[in-house]
Symmetry: C2
DNA sequence: GCAAATATAATAGTAATACTATCAATGTGT
DNA sequence: ACACATTGATAGTATTACTATTATATTTGC
């Protein structure tokens, strides 16, 4: 995907990191390689020590960027949602018709991820996999309420809010726009998970099926003018 | 809720435990107190050592019932799904009309949990909380495929399959019955989670809202005869 | 009622994890 | 050349997630 402006950066809440990984070479390698590694061995098996070995750096150096691996996961997933939000806004901004706009929005968030060459050290396809397999671990914790207060989940919440508005623009009478919005976002991740591990629990096996499923669901539920 | 037969037991895949906790007093205390404790301090903070202290028993004794805390979580959540499945089948079995049947089924799985006096050592309300907050951690692991093969998730899968069938009975043309079934089950847990921690991301704030939301969603999507 | 079997408790030990602290080496700007 | 920031290396700690062994109750079978 081509970008209008030379360098778009995804802005992440600076409380998530100790030192901005985008600000140095080591920081970028931490991000790049942690994506490969978490994708490979899973978040549970992932440690800063292993990451240090892989990038030829030291455990203690990684701690200068992130307090712990939980924060690193928050960083990666925030980045993903920020990236997806950018695509969402970019693709839907110019659409006047509210139904078409919502349709496009659903497509953006339910379609399979493709690599974006604009961010060379981030593999979006693998990052999407991480989001599918690990995102809920980032909020299913005892610290959720305080971390939410700190604003660690703002991007995700803003995305749901955008959907909320698009849904209400299509049908202002609909009583559950936020619930529907969150069902689309979480539900889409879940359908991709099921496809890989519980294939009998989903009908979304082919490319495009998830988009069709959620589009069908939403447009049967809403009353379009 | 009253039970027809004096002692219904929820049958759990015996590969999940080393020794059946239902078979002894200590076993039941492990289940009872682990529910209280996981609910209280979360699955991450929960250890067999702490549990041992709380029940006045020894860490090593708990290991004779469960290989590790992951297996214990699988046991608890399997029990929950088995319990819910029993209620589902019990409540919908006698309903002839397929739409009414599905409506009832949605109600059963989306309504707030109430305590069931038939299982004295299990607090279903807290267990439901655990399922909301921890269930996905039981399958979002690198071992998912082998554990699935071992049948650790059969009850959950059977529940989705039951929904699948009820959906297809209402609308045999509908193309995504499994996806819709899994959306209802996972989505319902998620709406309850949002209500407590991200209230702006859901519209299900009052008792009964989740049932209304999903009933509305499903019956707008399906073509009823 | 007693021996045998079984269940539970107590203790110790291990490798790995998730850090913190300290200090040395290297590079960068002025 | 000197200050300062960055990174690397090493060591150390508390906790976790176990395993192993032995001791002590408790149950049961005869």
């Amino acid at each position: 995907m081509e970008r209008l402006f030379g360098s778009v950066t995804i802005k992440i809440n600076d409380k998530i990191y100790v030192k901005d990984p985008q600000s140095s070479d080591l920081g970028k390698r931490i991000i790049e390689q942690s994506i490969l590694m978490i994708n490979d061995i899973g978040f549970e098996g992932f440690t800063f020590k292993k990451l240090g070995n892989q990038i030829g750096s030291n455990e203690s150096s990684i701690y200068r960027y992130f307090e712990n691996k939980h924060k690193l996961l928050l960083y990666l997933t925030s980045w993903y949602w920020g990236w997806l939000e950018y695509q969402l806004v970019f693709a839907t901004n110019s659409i006047a018709d509210s139904s078409e706009k919502l349709k496009k929005a659903i497509e953006i968030v339910t379609r399979p991820t493709v690599e974006d060459s604009a961010f060379s050290y981030i593999n979006e396809v693998l990052l999407n996999n991480i989001v599918i397999n690990e995102y809920s671990k980032s909020y299913l914790t005892k610290e959720i309420d305080s971390e939410n207060k700190e604003g660690y989940f703002v991007i995700y919440k803003r995305m749901i809010e955008r959907f909320n508005e698009m849904i209400s623009a299509v049908d202002s009478e609909y009583k559950y726009p936020s619930s529907l919005a969150s069902t689309i976002l979480e539900g889409s991740l879940h359908q991709y998970f099921l496809k890989d591990h519980f294939p009998t629990l989903t009908d979304c096996h082919e490319k495009g099926d998830a988009t069709k499923y959620f589009t069908d669901l939403v447009f049967h539920t809403l009353r379009t003018k």
